[in-house]
Amino acid sequence: MKLKPLSLVLATLAVLGLLWAPFLIVGAPREPTMGFVQKIFYFHVPCAWVCFLSAFVCAFGAIAYLFRDAEWGERLAASSAELTVVFGLCTLVTGPLWARKAWGHWWEWDVRLTLTLLLWMIFIAYLFARRYGGPGGKKLAAGLAIFGAANVPLIYLSVSIWRSIHPKTSVVPTLDPGMRPAFWVSFLTFTILYFVLLEARVALERARASLDALYLEAEDRGLFDGDPV
């Protein structure tokens, strides 16, 4: 897997960010109500943000594929869907670890938590539909991606619309100045990391497309029939 020069620069920045962020997180002031467990926030929120961003990128690619028949859109959507599942899983695992200490139990069927789980399951369904859906599988998966992304604004606004025990969206804008560097470095690091991983994953899809094209060419030239080429 070869990375482009820009991707290499971004990858270096992401690695530096991942090395620097823990020091900032440890040095950030402790939250008085929740104590040390609140430190999960610095990676939990960026993971959730990247999961949502990834869902939007996936939907963008899916729309390009559905309405413009753009193959690049399909490759982008498939790559981003996989990252939505990875970062969604990180969000869904780190959240309960925080909740265990803050709320006293691992899981609550709260609107935001339930909708996030639903989003994750939609993107799992996307990957299954694309992989095992047969000839129309890619189109079906693209439809699922659009529905999945439509869920994202609802997740974001859910804490303001319905009664929820999940912290509100006002937490980040009103963050203590001492906590800001740790949060924004983590946030930026995860965003950069997402684009680096997406580039690597899209490159894999491109290679797969080249392989498929090569197989078609080989078949046209009778390579698999035992006929002389």
């Binding site: 467990v37 990875v86 990391l193 392989l211």
Partner: protein, 88 residues
């Protein structure tokens, strides 16, 4: 006889009702007995939870990156072998 039956029915009804009312609820709260020492409540140290959260994220990303690397190598090998079979 009818009065006796009515009395017995009423008595039985109220006896069952009072028994049902007095029966201890298996899912209800149990009061602390005098002198009973309460067990310390279960608590997972915050450090373990934070370490598990950060560890999981790093592990998940590392595993995923590794799978991309493995898939990429397999694809490149397959591409090379197919290209070698196809005459230019």
């Amino acid at each position: 006889m009818t009065t006796l039956r009515a009395f017995l029915c009423t008595f039985t009804f109220f006896a069952i009702m009072s028994l049902a009312h007095a029966a201890p609820d298996s899912e209800g709260f149990v009061p602390v007995q005098p002198g009973e020492v309460l067990a310390a409540s279960e608590s997972i140290p915050a450090r373990n939870l934070v370490a598990a959260a950060y560890g999981f994220i790093f592990a998940a990303l590392a595993v995923w990156t590794l799978t991309v690397q493995v898939r990429s190598r397999r694809l490149e090998a397959e591409l090379e072998s197919l290209r070698a079979k196809l005459p230019r």
